[in-house]
C-alpha cells in the first residue's frame, strides 16, 4: 500500500516532463518582467531615501506578520540604479533563453531586493511574478526555445529532471491556489453577491482605461461577467484537472485576463498569470489537435 502510494506520488511530482511549456512560460514571464522593470528604471528615486520609505524603515513598512527575517537588497541605495540595470539585463537574457538556474536565482534575489526595499510601490503583478520566478529558477527553463539553440543547431532536447518536474507541479498548484483564494475572497463581498462589483470597478475612473458609463445601457452584462468570474476562479483547479475541460478553461482564463488588460490596463498582471497556462498544455497533444483541426478545415474547404 505504502509502496503504491509512494509510486503515485513519485509519478505525479517527479516524473520527467516535456520542457516546452516551461520554456514558453519563461519567455512570457521574463519578457513581461523585463518590460515592466525597464519602465521602472526611470524611477529609481522610489528606491532611495527620497521616497516614501527610507531604507531604515524598509522592514518596518511590511507589517509585523509579513516581515521577512532580512532584506534581500544587500546592496546600498547608492547602487540601486546599477543593480536595477543588472536585473533588467538578466531578465532580458532569460527571456531569450540565455542563462540557467544560477542566472535566474540571481535575477530572483535582485527582484526580491527591489520588492522589499520599497514595499509600497509594488504592483500585485510584481509580487506574483517574483513568486513564479522563484519556482522557475529551479527548473531547466532555458533548455528549449533558447537563442543559443539556434547557434548550436541543437535538435535533441532533454526531458525535465526530477527537480524541474517538481517545480512545474508547484507552479501549477500555486496558480490554482491563487485563483481559488481570490474567488473565495470575492464570495465574502456583498457587491460580488449582488452582481454589481464589476460596475464599481468599471465606473471607477482611477481604475479603467476609458469611460465605461455606457454599460448602464446593458446592465445585465455586469452581473453575468461578475458571476462568471467567480465561477472561473473557484472552479479553476477542478476544471484544470479534468482533461476534457482543461483547454476550455484555459481559453476562458486567457480571455478573462485579456479583458482585465484592455479595460483596466493591467497588462503585466495578465501576462504574468497567463504565462503559467503553458504548463497545463501538453505541447505534443496540442500540436496534434491543432494539426488535425487544420487538416479538417482544409478538407472542408476542398469540398
Amino acid at each position: 500500500m505504502m509502496q503504491r502510494l509512494w509510486k503515485a506520488w513519485d509519478q505525479f511530482w517527479f516524473s520527467p516532463q516535456n520542457l516546452m511549456g516551461v520554456a514558453l512560460m519563461r519567455i512570457v514571464l521574463c519578457g513581461t518582467m523585463f518590460l515592466s522593470y525597464l519602465v521602472r528604471q526611470w524611477k529609481m528615486e522610489y528606491y532611495s531615501d527620497l521616497s516614501w520609505i527610507p531604507r531604515s524603515m524598509a522592514l518596518e513598512a511590511m507589517g509585523d506578520l509579513y516581515r521577512p527575517l532580512f532584506l534581500w537588497s544587500f546592496w546600498p541605495d547608492s547602487l540601486m540604479s546599477s543593480m536595477h540595470i543588472l536585473l533588467v539585463v538578466l531578465l532580458g537574457l532569460l527571456a531569450l533563453g540565455i542563462g540557467g538556474r544560477w542566472i535566474m536565482w540571481m535575477a530572483w534575489i535582485l527582484d526580491m531586493g527591489f520588492i522589499q526595499r520599497n514595499f509600497a510601490v509594488n504592483f500585485g503583478a510584481d509580487i506574483i511574478a517574483a513568486l513564479f520566478l522563484f519556482y522557475l529558477s529551479f527548473t531547466q527553463s532555458c533548455e528549449r526555445l533558447s537563442v543559443l539553440n539556434l547557434f548550436n543547431n541543437k535538435k535533441e532536447f532533454r526531458q525535465s529532471d526530477f527537480i524541474s518536474s517538481m517545480m512545474i507541479r508547484m507552479i501549477q498548484v500555486q496558480i490554482s491556489v491563487i485563483y481559488v483564494y481570490t474567488g473565495w475572497e470575492k464570495l465574502k463581498g456583498a457587491s460580488w453577491w449582488d452582481g454589481t462589483a464589476l460596475w464599481s470597478v468599471m465606473a471607477n475612473p482611477q481604475m479603467t482605461t476609458m469611460n465605461f458609463e455606457f454599460l448602464r445601457n446593458i446592465p445585465w452584462v455586469i452581473p453575468l461577467v461578475a458571476y462568471m468570474t467567480i465561477l472561473f476562479e473557484i472552479y479553476f483547479p477542478a476544471m484544470i484537472v479534468s482533461k476534457k475541460m482543461r483547454l476550455s478553461w484555459l481559453v476562458m482564463g486567457a480571455l478573462f485576463h485579456l479583458g482585465i488588460a484592455i479595460f483596466i490596463g493591467l497588462w503585466n498582471f495578465a501576462f504574468v498569470m497567463v504565462s503559467t497556462y503553458f504548463l497545463f498544455i501538453d505541447p505534443i497533444e496540442l500540436r496534434l489537435k491543432i494539426v488535425s483541426k487544420w487538416e479538417n478545415l482544409r478538407k472542408g474547404f476542398r469540398f
Partner: protein, 184 residues
C-alpha cells in the same frame, strides 16, 4: 539510487510544507494560521509566499486619494507663506496616465490601508517635498461610486454627479519636530 530516493523524500517534505504555507498564509488570521505562524512566516516572508490573493475583493475599492495642505508658520504660529493644497496622486480621482508614475496609485492605497502610515511615511515625505514646511494636514478622501440601479434609472446623470464625497481620516504631522505630531 538510494541518494536520489533520499533527496526525493526531502523534497517531498518541502512540497508538503510549501503547500501548507500556500494554503495558510493568505488566511493567517484563521486558527490554523495563528497557531502555525511562527513555523511558517519566517520562511514564507523571506521567499515571497506572504501574499493575500484578494484582487478586487471582498469588494472593489471606491475612488479615493489623499488630500493634503502644507503649512508654513513661524515659531509664533503666524503664517509666513501661503499654505499649499494638493492631492496624492496628483491626478486626484483620475487615472494616472503616465506609465512611469502608475505605481503611485498603489502607494496611495498602501498608505490608506493603515492610517498610521500617513504619519510614519507620507507626512515625512511631504515635508521633504516642501522645504520650510512646518506641518502637513492629510485627509483620506473617498468618492463613492454611484450604484448601478441609480445609473440605470437616472439616464441623464453622470457617475460623478451621483457620487458622494466624504473624508475618512484626518492626520496632522509636524515637520519641525516629529515628536510633536498630533492627530484628530
Amino acid at each position: 539510487m538510494r541518494m536520489k530516493f533520499v533527496i526525493k523524500v526531502l523534497l517531498s517534505v518541502w512540497i508538503v510544507y510549501t503547500i501548507f504555507i500556500m494554503l495558510v498564509m493568505p488566511n493567517l488570521g484563521s486558527y490554523l494560521g495563528r497557531s502555525s505562524s511562527r513555523y511558517i512566516t519566517p520562511y514564507a516572508n523571506s521567499v515571497g509566499l506572504n501574499a493575500n490573493w484578494n484582487f478586487f475583493s471582498p469588494d472593489p475599492a471606491p475612488t479615493m486619494y489623499i488630500q493634503f495642505r502644507i503649512h508654513f508658520l513661524d515659531p509664533e504660529g503666524y503664517q509666513i507663506k501661503d499654505s499649499v493644497d494638493g492631492f496624492f496622486p496628483a491626478e486626484k480621482n483620475r487615472r494616472i496616465s503616465s506609465i512611469f508614475r502608475q505605481r503611485e496609485l498603489y502607494v496611495m492605497r498602501y498608505m490608506l490601508i493603515d492610517p498610521r502610515r500617513l504619519k510614519t511615511f507620507m507626512g515625512p515625505w511631504l515635508c521633504r517635498q516642501y522645504p520650510g514646511a512646518t506641518s502637513v494636514e492629510m485627509e483620506h478622501v473617498v468618492e463613492t461610486i454611484a450604484n448601478l440601479d441609480q445609473m440605470v434609472v437616472l439616464k441623464g446623470e453622470g457617475v460623478e454627479s451621483l457620487s458622494t464625497v466624504f473624508q475618512n481620516i484626518h492626520e496632522v504631522f509636524s515637520c519641525v519636530d516629529a515628536s510633536d505630531e498630533v492627530s484628530s
